[in-house]
């Protein structure tokens, strides 16, 4: 097991190097560099200032000649390794990493809540569906989960704004739920716990409905997988009460793949939900990345992508290790 973990750690290195090369190439090839932005923003900027900026970024050598791409790459890599993420262009006086940390908590709250709500609802439904396969209950929820999976989140979000904000404010004079943001500004109750919860409700529900559909299907199929296994038949044959068979023998084994899927979905918490956050003008990392891309804030965009790639790889490894921990039949060597 220990050698397996060490080997997996060593395998992460080439993957990280490849990702850093891809990220670097995207950064360099996708438009003007920050120094050229200085000229675009202020045409009267001194050429010496531009040159100094280019040298600081490792784009040219002392005589002003452009450096080859691979030298630029190593220079960039060195800066990244030293924690020099670069400065944000659209969030003033923030480093690229600082900007991410500014928006990350909001996303973690939103994504965490919706994941929790969807798990609490989806897992019992999935279990019951699998135990009563082909019953009316099963058909109803299987069809509903197809509906949930096919609902575009931005459409669901907009429809919920229409139903819970637009129509009530026109008919009743006040909205049932706010259309966006994380708190009401300029109100006496600005930023209180309930105010925040009130703002969190619609985006959380939209994401939860979408997640629920997937989790119900995962739970149902992973329980169906084990319910016909020989050891479950043995448990029944030796006369165990049905709920012991289900909850002790079948369910515990069915939860093993669920642990893996859950671990693999954790990087999603750090990515935020670009679309739902944009629909609800919710200041999370997903919308931050969208704004960084639109505003050509490449330092922030690239740092975020690199950060997410590292988190994704780490949780892939965690999932593999957890799999061996929860399932003693798996032996890594």
């Amino acid at each position: 097991m220990f050698t397996y973990i060490v080997r997996r750690f060593l395998q992460m290195i080439p993957i990280l190097i490849l990702i850093s090369i891809l990220t670097f190439l995207l950064l360099r090839l996708s438009g003007p560099d920050p120094a050229e932005y200085m000229i675009m923003l202020n045409p009267r900027v001194h050429p010496e200032d531009v040159l100094r900026e280019k040298m600081r970024l490792g784009l040219v050598d002392a005589s002003g000649k452009p450096l080859p791409l691979y030298v630029q790459y190593f220079y960039w890599l060195k800066q990244i390794m030293q924690g020099e993420w670069g400065w944000s262009r659209i969030w003033p006086s923030q480093t690229a990493f600082g900007a991410i940390m500014l928006f990350l908590p909001n996303s973690l709250i939103l994504m965490g809540f919706s994941l929790l709500i969807s798990l609490i609802i989806a897992i019992p439904i999935g279990i019951y569906s699998a135990l009563r396969q082909y019953s009316t209950f099963d058909y109803t929820f299987t069809t509903l989960s197809f509906l949930g999976m096919s609902l575009p989140t931005f459409w669901l979000g907009l429809m919920s704004i229409i139903i819970f904000h637009l129509i009530p404010s026109r008919l009743l004079g006040f909205p049932l739920f706010p259309a966006g943001d994380i708190m009401s500004f300029g109100k006496p109750y600005q930023g209180t716990f309930y105010d925040r919860l009130w703002h969190l409700f619609l985006p959380t529900m939209v994401l939860a409905i979408y997640n629920m559909a997937h989790w119900t299907r995962y739970m149902r199929s992973s329980l169906l997988e084990v319910i016909r296994a020989d050891y479950v038949r043995t448990a029944r044959a030796k006369g165990l009460p049905e709920n012991k068979v289900v909850y002790k023998h079948a369910l515990r084994n069915a939860l093993i793949p669920m642990v893996t899927i859950l671990t693999l979905s954790i990087p999603g918490l750090f990515a935020g939900a670009v679309i739902t956050e944009t629909v609800f003008a919710y200041p999370g990392v997903g919308r931050m990345l969208y704004q960084a891309v639109l505003g050509k804030d490449y330092a922030v965009a690239m740092t975020d992508i690199l950060f997410l790639a590292v988190i994704t790889i780490i949780f892939n490894l965690v999932a593999d290790i957890l799999y061996a921990v929860v399932d003693p039949r798996i032996r890594y060597s």
Partner: protein
Amino acid sequence: MAVADVTVELAPSFSYWQMVWTRFRKHKLAMFGGAVIIFMILACYAGYPLYVYFTGNDYVSQDLTGRYALPSAQHWFGTDDLGRDVVARILYGGRVSIAVGFISAVASVVIGSLIGVVSAFFGGWIDEALMRFTDVMMSLPYIPLYLVLAMAFGPGFWTLVGIFVAFGWMGDARLVRGVVLSLKNMEFVEAAKAVGASNWRIMVRHLLLNSMAPIIVSTTLAMGGNIVGEAALSYLGLGIQPPLPSWGNILQTAAEYIFAPGNGPWLIFYPGFFLFITVLSFNFMGDGLRDALDPRLKI
């Protein structure tokens, strides 16, 4: 010696595709999905010119004095912020959305299948290299990369298709590799080798054709997924660019003016509803095809 007069009653024999069709027909939701998809394609490709012919509304002509018209016999779903007919825009936009979904799903399946079959058939370092590359591509955070790539290459139809293909083939490659690994040591492959078939012929005619079931299911599901993907990126303004309509950017324009006086909620409802019904149909059909093509299949 007289031979007794016997008539042999043979059970009617069915070909593979007849059995597939029999099983598919029993799946009511999949039949519904198939019917909706055929209807959508007919409506967008044949229905649009008919609609233009009978009502005289096309998807670009503006009528600034008739903005936000209510649904009527002249404009079935009303008009948008520039007085354009919403039905015409949805029908024409449907062509764009369905085309993005179809082209990118087929292209990524072709690429994924080829990588999968080459990887499994040759094995060794080729397999190792291709699968490591697949792993790297899978560990990239793809939604942020969609945004950056769409911005870098300039948003548009072919950029969208390119992005969906670049990040869509990995699942198919793994799927096909798995199937081919279990097929490649079977007798029919050995027989093909014995009669001197080329590697290419074995890979395409024998191995890929025998892994069609998962490939077809995965293509169907990918079409639905890519249609939502198109709509999502167009909604963010990084997909199909106006004046060319797509379900995503029709929705985006409607959403931008969500609080404008006169902007009816139906302007947001209709494009999203068409999108939802189409994607739902692709998902139902994929589910039905999975049961019909190979009941033991797990995707």
